[in-house]
Amino acid sequence: MKKAKGIRVLCVDDHPIVREGIAAMMENEDDVVSVGEAADGKAAIELYRKLKPDVVVMDLRMPELGGLEATIQIRREFPAARIIVLTTYEGDEDIHRALDAGARGYLLKDSVRRELLQSIREVYAGQRHISGTAATRLAEHTPRMSLSPRELEVLQLIAEGLRNKEIGAKLDIAEDTVKIHIKHIFGKLEVIDRTEAVVAASRRGFIRLDAPNNPKA
């Protein structure tokens, strides 16, 4: 028999079995009911508009549109949306990004059984829920990612349009060393090319795009 009342939950994960597993966890609860499922971020957004669930449980890593971008888009359209992201722990920046995107909950995949229902109830009540291990790491005051002074120099020169060889000459370092710095920069900013790196760094305030000094402008 379908539950008439309860916290209405939309589950988003690209693995059907995981969605079934999560639905199974909610089945015996009187105050929680699964109202829909989606297999990727795009479907999640469309279903959110249609169902307006109370809480969304969403995998971060999905094909097509991932959980982070879907969270951003849903929250943009529905600022009150309550979203719990589900992920494997991959570092503090992951938590920060999820929370910055507007997620109210951060649930680790190896704690789902223990924490799913508690996280749904807490987030529905307006609180945040961060999985134990992740919360401990945040509480240990792990500083957010920053770029080293050298990385900032390299990034600034990329923004000015210099090639790797030119950057190496300017900073008096080998071209291979420049490439290593760029690899680190891309990793920290989570981008895949120079343009994205410059945009991301500028957005975060790491560098300034000063048009008169930028030969490519």
Binding site: H15, I17, R19, E20, T88, K109, S111, L116
Partner: protein
């Protein structure tokens, strides 16, 4: 000499050990397996170390093994299981369709390799086939192997 009565079906259920760090995945598999009359989940493990211990304690008929595990990787678990008993019946599950991983798993004695997206369709037939001593390779996986050779 009179024949002994047939063993009640209840006692012949295929005993399954589920090894995956994602609790949602384990719950989904548990629900699927336990809904069948011919199989049952004996236990679960969330990492490689637990998997080996559970295997030793439970001696399952079939182990469902996530290839990408924390603490001790799936590949290393499989090696250890091979050392525990000859030809343990293992079905490898993975989120990757990587030919190298598939080949590696099969070379270490896995009887089946299933991508996690195909579990709903392939898991139960795979469990039954491997329990019968057969190898079970979905078309898509077989195709990847052929293309990789």
């Amino acid at each position: 000499m009179p024949e002994s009565p047939p063993v009640p079906t209840e006692q012949r259920k295929i005993g399954v050990l589920v090894i995956d760090d994602h609790e949602g995945m384990r719950e989904g598999i548990n629900a699927m397996v336990n809904a069948q009359s011919d199989m049952t989940v004996l236990g679960q493990a969330g990492n490689g170390e637990e998997a080996i211990q559970q295997f030793r304690d439970l001696r399952p008929d079939i182990s469902l093994l996530d290839w990408n595990l924390p603490v001790v990787q799936g590949e290393d678990v499989l090696r250890t299981l091979n050392a525990e008993i000859p030809k343990p019946r293992v079905i490898v599950m993975s989120a990757l369709n990587d030919v190298t991983c598939i080949q590696r798993a099969l070379s270490l004695g896995a009887q089946s390799y299933l991508h996690k997206d195909m579990l709903r369709r392939e898991l139960l037939p795979a469990i039954r086939a491997v329990h019968e001593g057969q190898q079970y390779m979905p078309e898509e996986i077989a195709g990847l192997l052929d293309a990789g050779n």
